[in-house]
Amino acid sequence: MMADLHLLTILVFFPLAGCLLVLPAWRRPAAARPLVLGVMTGELVLALWLYASWQGLAALKPALPGYLLVEDAPWIPAFGIRYTLGLDGISLLMVMLTAFSFCVALVVSWRAVGEKVGLFLALLLAMETGIMGVFLALDLALFYLFWEVMLIPMFFLIGIWGHGRRIYSTVKFFLFTMFGSLLMLLAIIALHLLHARQSGVATFGLFDLIATPVPAATQLWLFAAFFLAFAIKFPLFPLHTWLPDAHTDAPTAGSVILAGLLLKTGSYGLLRFGYPLFPQAAHTLTPLFYALAIAGIVYASLVAFAQDDMKRLIAYSSIGHMGYVAIGIAAWQPVALSGSIIQMANHGVTTGALFAMVGMLDERAHTREIKAFGGLWGKVPLWSFFFLLFSMASVGLPGLNNFVGEFLVLAGTFTKSPVAAGLAFIGIVLTLIYMVRLVQEVVFQVERTPLPLADLDRREMCLLAVLALVVVWMGVHPAPLLDLIHGPVQLLVGGAP
């Protein structure tokens, strides 16, 4: 019955349909913003409703094992491409994160974006559709389509509303991602042809292709192409250089979405497509994956320590945090993988919140230099309180959300590779150093320049309070989310050596 409602199609295309609502209010931002907030909230409510009823859905036993909802229809028969969407626990978590992050991104740019508001809102909605599609597609060609579609709005977002060297940054971002994706496209087609040659059926369906036996040498090449595409998005050292630029020059909404969602599409792609499709190749390349992830953690932490720009510092901290996600996936073990997935959501919330807060400060002081601030605790106590909270979450303070993810990742990885876990642990200490330095310089030092700063207004208060609530709730009581992803994780890990 539920499948007949085409809930997944609605989930994907409802935001895009929302663009039509914006059209009449194109030149009246005051009317358009609440409309779009309504659309995004509706999407969030739908996602939360799906979460509330996931156990009921799981009991219905849909077409694919482990999936809550599946939709399937022919789309381009000439190529064997189908319109297949599927929702399992992992996707649901990502869908919730997406819907939530877009609300955050909209509210945070409520006043910051004053020019070309209609276009801005339409692009946000279009991007939401693209990202939802990425997290739900189960047909490789469809996945690739969404994967590329979501880039276009981000390209415009950074290029039009960004700061500094925005054009350089946005073109760099676009070219980096395209480079990986295009090779992945060839790999997808090659895998499709391999399957067609063996079975005579032309399909891009994930589960058909997983069943294809691929010769080891070919597998290595194909996996390398997938890995490259996902590693650029992740981003793994040394493919990360687009990220600091893109983050620094992006508008706050862009940073929130980049950190919260676009990076996650890389890790999601790897665990949904890369590992299950090419288990042996993934196994062969695991040491490399570990090495890149740990190098990234250490390198990003050291570089973060040397930053003067708060946004750039948080951007580098993002690379470090995603390194833990990478280690958890590399371990390919139930506990570590659960940790990775939870960490994906955690990082989206905390880093999104940090970017939002730096954006708020930037709106007031028109600078993000760490050296310009100091003594904010006395001047803007509310802002300082939330900043301290999210920084501590980012460091991994027990009781806050990141601790759960990092702990699970390290605990799981320890059973597989104690060395990697040990080295990754050092990274946590490094994170502590640069985050504490940041907080100390900005919040506690004596005031360096007399900046006329106003504390948070009601809109910002509400936003940060909600984010703080999520951070604490996910830190104190992560069990429901772990239950949600438990089944899918077991299925994923069971399918690989």
Partner: protein, 464 residues
């Protein structure tokens, strides 16, 4: 010739007859209505093709589903080109009935080329439309650039016609027939025959701007009036691709034919993409990009046995939509002087949203980014190439597509992200006909990108 044959041939007769009638009407009463009249003739031919599809086989010509498809495809491009030209030519003072009449004549020639069953008719069709373009490129009599472009096109074109004719002659000497179906019979290929096939391919390479026969492209595209460039870069490429498809069976069993196309595809993709990187004129950039795009068509032809034919035609259609939209936007935004430097496009995405959006969608399509048609086209070409075992060429194609993304983005960046310097003159308003002319290819680009299944099925059917 029976009555049924005549009925099947009617679209071509309408186009050719319409051309003459427009010339006569212009002599009696010149005016802008001639564009409308020409559009009506093309629409009539299209309507006839769809409404009364006939199949006929005559000496030299065969109206097959293949030919009917191309009449439809090229006719649509012709309508868009006429709509564009109506506004542009009025602004530029290009008056006279010869413009629409020549365009109709070009369409008739393209139709004949696509319906050819022997090499002579193919040659006639190809040269008929090339001849029409000699006139169209240089139609702006006071323009120095136009005259230069016309002369360059004429010299290069006659050379290629001579090469093509020589090739046909050699093939005839060796086999004693010009009929394509007989020439496609497998036989031991003798050197004379192969030399002829090579010369024919070289002649067609000129029409498709395949490297090394591409050198005329940037100069001619830049010098010709923008609506002519829009038509030249799309319809003539489409018709020439059809001609290649008709000729290639002659070289089917010959490995050398594959190798020649392989080299052409490689050189064209790489050369076009790299040269486009350094252009500052949008017309030259689009010209080099069209060279690169034709490289992908060549890549599809390399993989002909693996379903490359369908990929090539799909690519040609997707490219035509994008080409019409991009050159169309250039044409609609040009007033007294051509708006040619990329810097002149700063901020135009806001000052003229429709033209800006058409150009942006077209550029994304050319760059092969979904949901535009160009992505599906590249998808089709790459899957044909991989199926045909051309992995190396596919990888080169992907990398040159990446280079392409960079230079296409430069224009998008100018349109939407660069600040306008000084007080920019107001962007010209679009006339209604131009708005329609831009909307048709833009919508087609998005539609083919999102739902290409009907066209792909149709192509599968006509290629049998």
């Amino acid at each position: 010739m029976t009555k049924a044959d005549l009925m099947a041939l009617m679209p071509l007769i309408i186009l050719a007859g319409g051309s003459v009638l427009v010339l006569l009407a212009g002599a009696v009463r010149p005016g802008g209505y001639l564009y409308g009249l020409s559009i009506a003739f093309v629409a009539l031919a299209l309507g006839w093709t769809v409404g009364a599809p006939g199949t006929a086989v005559m000496p030299g010509l065969a109206i097959t589903p293949f030919a009917r498809f191309f009449v439809l495809f090229l006719g649509c491009a012709g309508i868009v080109a006429l709509l564009l030209a109506a506004g542009y030519n009025r602004r530029r003072g290009i008056t006279g009935e010869e413009y629409p009449a020549t365009l109709l004549f070009a369409l008739a020639g393209m139709g004949a080329a696509c319906a050819a069953t022997d090499l002579l008719m193919l040659f006639l069709g190809l040269e008929a439309f090339t001849f029409a373009f000699y006139l169209l490129v240089a139609i702006e009599r006071d323009s120095v650039r136009g005259g230069e472009a016309g002369l360059k096109y004429l010299l290069n074109g006659t050379l290629s016609a001579a090469v093509l004719a020589m090739g046909i002659a050699l093939v005839y000497c060796s086999r004693g027939t010009l009929r394509l179906s007989e020439l496609a019979q497998p036989a031991t290929p003798e050197p004379l025959f192969l030399a002829g096939v090579c010369l024919i391919l070289l002649g067609l390479a000129f029409k498709l701007s395949w490297v090394p026969a591409h050198l005329w492209t940037p100069d001619v595209y830049q010098g010709a009036p923008a609506p002519v460039t829009a038509f030249l870069s799309t319809a003539s490429k489409g018709a020439s691709a059809a001609a290649v498809l008709l000729v290639l069976p002659m070289a089917a069993g010959w490995r050398g034919g594959h190798d020649i196309l392989w080299c052409l595809a490689l050189a064209t993709m790489v050369c076009g993409s790299l040269a486009a990187l350094v252009q500052t004129s949008i017309k030259r950039l689009l010209a080099w990009s069209s060279v690169a795009q034709m490289g992908y068509v060549a890549l599809a032809f390399v993989a002909l046995p693996a379903g490359g034919g369908r990929a090539a035609i799909f690519y040609a259609v997707a490219y035509a939509a994008a080409g019409l939209a991009s050159f169309g936007a250039v044409s609609a935004l040009s007033d007294g002087s051509d708006r040619d430097a990329i810097d002149q496009y700063r901020g135009l995405g806001y000052r003229n949203p429709l033209a800006g959006a058409a150009l942006a969608v077209a550029l994304f399509s050319l760059a092969g980014i979904p949901p535009a048609a160009g992505f599906m086209a590249k998808f089709a070409v790459f899957s044909a190439a991989l199926r045909g075992g051309e992995t190396a060429l596919a990888v080169v194609g992907v990398l040159s597509a990446l280079v392409g993304v960079f230079f296409y983005l430069r224009v998008v960046v100018a349109l939407y992200m660069r600040p306008v310097e000084g007080t920019a003159a107001a962007a010209p308003l679009l006339t209604a006909s131009e708005a329609v002319a831009l909307a048709i290819p833009t919508l087609a680009t998005i539609l083919l990108g999102v739902y290409p299944a009907p066209l792909l099925d149709l192509l599968a059917r006509i290629l049998g």
